[in-house]
């Protein structure tokens, strides 16, 4: 439950604001000029705020759709991302948002129409090329659907634009919204996954991996395309056995043809993000094997990183074609 909602004055009367506020009738509403007054201020603590985040409703003014960093993609010629929301209801120990933002409050940009206009513009400027739009880089695309109505609003924008793919990245086990929509072939519901034992320790407040697999199974049966995202790969005792068992479980539940793509990525952070995240989770074993590798990057030892990527890729190739497997290194 949200206790406090900060609302930018200029979007006070926007339909999306009104729609969201209807769900939080008892919350205290505080009027603000710009979201940065709350979200970007100094001397605030992400970890403390994460105990009970507040909600900020704001208008995004520019940068609705941005090119992805190099090394981020699932096969298309051009890759973009957009973020209608910053932060997430889950509390994953390794989440890079903790290092990127100083506030754990949920920030929703309510001007969805501007995002959709820009997405259509990108589609029109890139006719004849294959494009992927990634959502869920700065938030979980599905987890806050009951509040944002994001999927319901955005899926129609992609219907009929077969050269443009949308990836919805999530750990949510909610399937209700997709049950209400007609599946489209250019939407990938991409699930972040790791062995159950690790997820139990690290993916706090997120649905278990078995629930995520059940959701994938249900959605794939309905005709939605599924993405498997093993990013980050996490080292632990017996990691090979754990990942082998996870891949086996997934492919025993979901038909290979329902799986659009698989991506792998190492646990890695820019140094400044890592320092912040580490201060929040000093006792987590997951961070105790990371070190500065190559200037500004904190990651596993290069040999270990390579071994994990190679092993997992080879294991996945027992179940799927190589052209579906991507390595994310950005």
């Amino acid at each position: 439950m949200i206790d406090t909602i900060y609302i930018e004055k200029e979007i006070n009367d926007s339909p999306k604001t009104i729609q969201i506020l209807r769900k939080f009738k008892n919350a205290r509403k505080i009027s603000i000029d710009r979201y940065g007054e709350i979200f970007n201020r100094k001397n605030q603590n992400f970890r403390v705020q994460k105990i009970k985040p507040n909600l900020i409703l704001a208008r995004k003014h520019k940068g609705f759709v941005l090119p992805t960093p190099e090394g981020f993609g699932i096969g298309d010629q051009k890759n973009f991302y957009f973020s209608h929301m910053y932060n997430c209801i889950y509390d994953c120990s390794y989440c890079f948002l903790q290092g990127m933002y100083s506030s754990a409050n949920y920030l929703i940009f309510v001007n969805f129409e501007d995002f959709k206009r820009e997405i259509k513009g990108v589609m029109e400027r890139n006719l004849g090329e294959s494009i992927t739009f990634f959502s869920g880089y700065d938030c979980d695309s599905v987890a806050m659907e009951s509040v944002t109505n994001f999927i319901n609003d955005f899926i129609p924008t992609f219907r009929g634009h077969d050269n443009a793919l949308i990836e919805l990245r999530t750990k949510s086990a909610q399937t209700r919204i997709f049950e209400k929509l007609e599946p489209i072939s250019n939407c990938v519901i991409a699930y972040s996954l790791m062995p159950e034992e690790l997820a139990g320790k690290l993916d706090k407040k997120a649905p278990s991996v078995s629930l995520r697999i059940s959701a994938m199974k249900k959605l794939s049966a309905m005709g939605w395309k599924i993405g498997l995202r093993f990013d980050p790969l996490i080292y632990s005792d017996n990691w090979k056995i754990k990942y082998q068992s996870l891949f086996k479980e997934i492919y025993s539940e979901i038909k290979e043809e329902s799986i659009h793509s698989v991506s792998l990525g190492s646990l890695r952070f820019p140094k400044t993000y890592f320092n912040k995240i580490f201060s929040y989770h000093r006792q987590e074993e997951v961070f105790s094997r990371l070190d500065i590798n190559g200037g500004n990057l904190v990651s596993y030892d290069k040999d270990l990183e390579s071994e994990m990527n190679t092993f997992c890729k080879n294991e996945l190739l027992k179940y799927c074609n190589e052209n579906k497997v991507f390595h994310c290194y950005s």
């Binding site: 206790d3 406090t4 900060y6 205290r28 505080i30 603000i32 000029d33 007054e37 709350i38 201020r41 001397n43 605030q44 603590n45 970890r47 403390v48 705020q49 105990i51 009970k52 507040n54 580490f278 201060s279 929040y280 000093r282 006792q283 987590e284 074993e285 961070f287 105790s288 094997r289």
Partner: protein, 276 residues
């Protein structure tokens, strides 16, 4: 890394002596005898400190800085401003938690953190004015210090542990000259149990912040028995974090007690961690 005290640390900044007296009594504070610009009080163990600033924004800003320096507060210290305020919305004697504070002069607003589970029903905007308010144009509560208090303390401490709490003393039509100092003390006194009940919640936030910056366990013990260079201390901190996360063997201090040099301690820890 600045030295962070493990004990609870609260700094009370109060405008008027009649407001301060009930808090001084409740916390058994004693005036410290140094010659300072503002009267400063502390308890025996140095957990609670209090200053009386006098009316107005300039006074509270100066008193807050003075208390910060005198009491060796750090960025995990809790700062609380309690005082009387005027309102047309809330009833006389009601306690109000402030989650927005606006300067009537500049029009600028600041936003104290909405501390979860604080169990204060009344929440409001505070409008800080330069002279006693008589018109009460806004639904918020009115004081003469809050904005400046928050502006200063938010540079000294984490915003999650800065509180402004107001107790309504007057409203439209009140004759301010009739608010006697005894009445002010009574208004505060009545709310002392509530104020004290809030503290454990804020202490737990402060502890959370301390845990994020305290040196790793055993660091100081090890540095006491062997001499480490600056770069060795950096390495030792990293290794200790790894050690306590992975626990390759149970008793680190016992294991390293036989090692005669800092280099050997570091080498031993690295080898043990590589094995784990």
């Amino acid at each position: 890394m600045s030295k962070i005290d493990r004990k609870n640390s609260v700094r009370w900044v109060i405008a008027l002596m009649p407001e301060a007296i009930p808090i001084i009594r409740a916390l058994r504070l004693i005036k410290i005898s140094r010659n300072l610009s503002f009267p400063i009080y502390s308890d025996e163990v140095g957990e609670h400190w209090l200053t009386v600033s006098g009316l107005g924004q300039n006074n509270i800003a100066a008193a807050t800085k003075c208390l910060f320096e005198t009491s060796s507060a750090d960025k995990t210290s809790i700062w609380i401003n309690v005082g009387i305020a005027g309102s047309k919305t809330f009833n006389l004697g009601e306690l109000v938690f402030i989650d927005k504070v606006t300067s009537n002069i500049s029009g600028k607003s600041l936003y104290p953190y909405s501390i979860p589970n604080l169990k204060i029903e009344n929440r409001s905007e505070l409008i800080t004015v330069n002279s006693p308010e008589r018109e009460f144009g806004s639904d918020g509560v009115y004081d003469m210090e809050g904005f400046s208090f928050f502006e200063v303390t938010s540079k000294l401490s984490s915003i999650e542990i800065i509180l402004i709490l107001k107790i309504v003393s007057d409203g439209p039509g009140s004759d301010l000259s009739k608010i006697h100092k005894d009445k002010i003390s009574t208004l505060i006194e009545t709310k002392i149990p509530t104020l004290l009940r809030l503290l454990p919640t804020v202490f737990s936030i402060s502890k959370n912040l301390k845990d994020q910056i305290l040196l790793p366990k055993n660091f100081e013990d090890i540095c006491k028995v062997r001499k480490f260079t600056f770069s060795q201390r950096v390495t030792l901190k990293k290794l200790l974090h790894q050690w306590h996360a992975r626990k390759p063997s149970k008793n680190l201090l016992k294991n390293i007690s036989v090692l005669k040099t800092s280099s050997r301690i570091i080498k031993f820890m690295e080898e043990e961690l590589n094995r784990s």
